[in-house]
């Protein structure tokens, strides 16, 4: 868990439908602050010092449906690496994101939690520009992703590493070539340098001996670890994990969680030593509450296309919001039902 939380708020105690919740900053204000502060990370630090009015529910939804959304954001003390500003996205008649405001603080391992179908994976695809919002904005280090030209978007994506659910390894290449692929495409490194970097990453994830295997010869867990190695190889500023624990047994899930923490720690040390402009930001999407408890520095809970509550892990684990309590304890009784 991170102990870098420079600011805390009382969060306005919540027990049931909050009357005057602390709110994420309004969309327009957020956008202007963020863009203006692109060169000054300190100005992008979320500071919640007032309680704006509770937003209206999305079109077609009632207040009652969103009564558990406190919209409370406990400050992390860090600027946001990625911000969603009043984002809407629909697929046909399915409204997935319905006015989402959230941020992923820099230098932390953030977890996005929420019931199935609430738009978590859709969020990841918006961050890297694989999907565009119908309305609203997504900012990465202060720059608007939907407004980027194609070439800028491809350049911006080099900041990201993404671990897909099944690893998304290229079926026509062996493990070594899969991990070496981004280096060959984006760097001028010699074959020896590529070999050294790739083997270092493969050894980190415990796959050094499997370098010549094809993806179809690997187990699900090995494919995930290989995808992890490939996502790391360009040393991205932001690493996204789309349900890294799906299909893994509990021990492997715990080991993968430890690996994520260990690599985040190493990357933080390296970034600080090199005085990088941006600290490494990890974002994990998961349903596994144990992983959230073990790995997360910062937790964001989404439901029905909006943020319910977000904040540093210890604040969230002690939240009094019944929905958050139910979800983080995995109980069957509470606001969340099968409906």
């Amino acid at each position: 868990m991170s102990d870098d939380h420079e600011q805390t708020t009382d969060g306005g105690g919540v027990g049931g439908p909050p009357s005057l919740p602390l709110m994420p900053k309004p969309a327009d204000a957020s956008r202007s602050v963020t863009r203006a502060g692109a060169s000054d990370p300190a100005s992008r630090v979320s500071v919640v010092d007032e309680a704006p009015p509770r937003p209206a529910p999305p079109d077609g939804a009632s207040d009652d449906e969103y009564r558990w959304h406190s919209y409370k954001v406990y400050p992390s003390g860090r600027p946001d690496a990625v911000e969603f500003v009043d984002t809407y996205k629909a697929f046909g008649r399915s409204q997935i994101l319905r006015g989402l405001n959230m941020g992923l603080p820099e230098g932390m391992v953030s977890m996005i939690l929420g019931p199935s179908g609430t738009g978590k994976s859709v969020c990841i695809k918006h961050m890297v520009g694989l999907l565009y919002p119908d309305r609203g904005d997504i900012l990465v280090h202060g720059e608007s992703v939907p407004n980027m030209r194609d070439d800028d978007l491809f350049e911006m994506r080099k900041k990201f590493g993404l671990l897909f659910q099944d690893g998304a390894l290229f079926g026509s290449m062996n493990l070594f070539d899969n991990v070496a692929f981004p280096l060959r495409q984006h760097t001028e490194k010699s074959q020896d340098e590529i070999e050294e970097t790739v083997m270092r990453r493969l050894n980190e994830v415990g796959l050094g001996d499997a370098r010549l295997k094809m993806p179809n010869e690997l187990s699900g867990g090995m494919r995930k670890r290989a995808g992890f190695a490939r996502a790391l190889v360009l040393e991205p500023d932001i690493l996204l994990f789309d349900e890294p624990d799906s299909g893994l047994d509990p021990v492997r899930t715990a080991l993968l969680g430890e690996l994520i923490l260990e690599i985040h720690r190493d990357m933080m040390d390296e970034a600080k030593a090199k005085q990088k402009e941006h600290l490494p930001t990890f974002c994990v999407i998961t349903h596994d509450i144990m992983s959230a408890r073990r790995v997360a520095d910062y937790i964001t809970v989404l439901w029905k296309g909006r943020l319910v509550e977000a904040g540093p892990a210890e604040d969230m684990l002690n939240s009094e919001n019944p929905f958050i309590r139910q979800f983080l304890s995995g109980e069957s009784q509470g606001p969340l039902t099968m409906d």
């Binding site: 890297v128 994506r157 692929f181």
Partner: protein, 265 residues
Amino acid sequence: MNELISTPRGWLDSFGEMTKFGGRMIADIVTLRVFKFFGEALRQAGILIVSSTLVIFGLVFIIGSECGIEGGYFTYGEGAPAYSGVFAAWCDLRELVPLVFGYMMAAKVGTGIVAELGSMRISDEIDALEVMGISGMRFLCATRLLAAMMVLPFIYLASIGAGFFASYLAVVQELGYVSSGGFLLIFWQFQNPTDVLFSLIKAMAMAFVIVIVGCYYGYNASGGPVGVGTATAKSMVVNLVSVHLIGMLGTQLFWGANPRAPIGG
């Protein structure tokens, strides 16, 4: 009534999307951006040569021999077996070799592209490419089109040779209706290099469309393995219709007003 209108409207929509998609692929080649991935284009060219050449030659050889036999019988029945070379020259060069080349391209190359790209799409491999900052369209589609442009003209010209050779064998060696010299005299009288060029243009237009259609359906596949299967079937239908349309338009354009033959006044 609505059904009657919406179906052709859907076809028009798809045609528009496909044209836009093909335009982007061509733009990547014209602006030379695809040459960043020239290695991948060479790899695709190698795959085309190794996996498609023999099967195209084989099919064209069969069609060439059929043209020769049917032409031989017909001219023999009319009392002019010496003219069986006309069939070999026209049937092979102008019509059947381009068509058979198109069929094999659609069946082997087109469906192969849809299946490969479709599988990559549903297993998130294309998204993985994009997230690495690599244009999937450029890396996967434009390189395949460039590879086709580099390799297929030579494969096609060689396959014309296979068709001619088969017709020669059928008429001269198998049926024996005409001597070798007699066959070749008429055979060369009824074609010239411009006809070969026109035939090449027809076949390359087919190949061009087949690669674009294959890339379009594969790149935009969705709905899991069933979706990839559906996309493959759709691409085959579109490609077969396109092959015949291009064949017909090519014949009308190149030989419709002028037979380009030493006959008549």
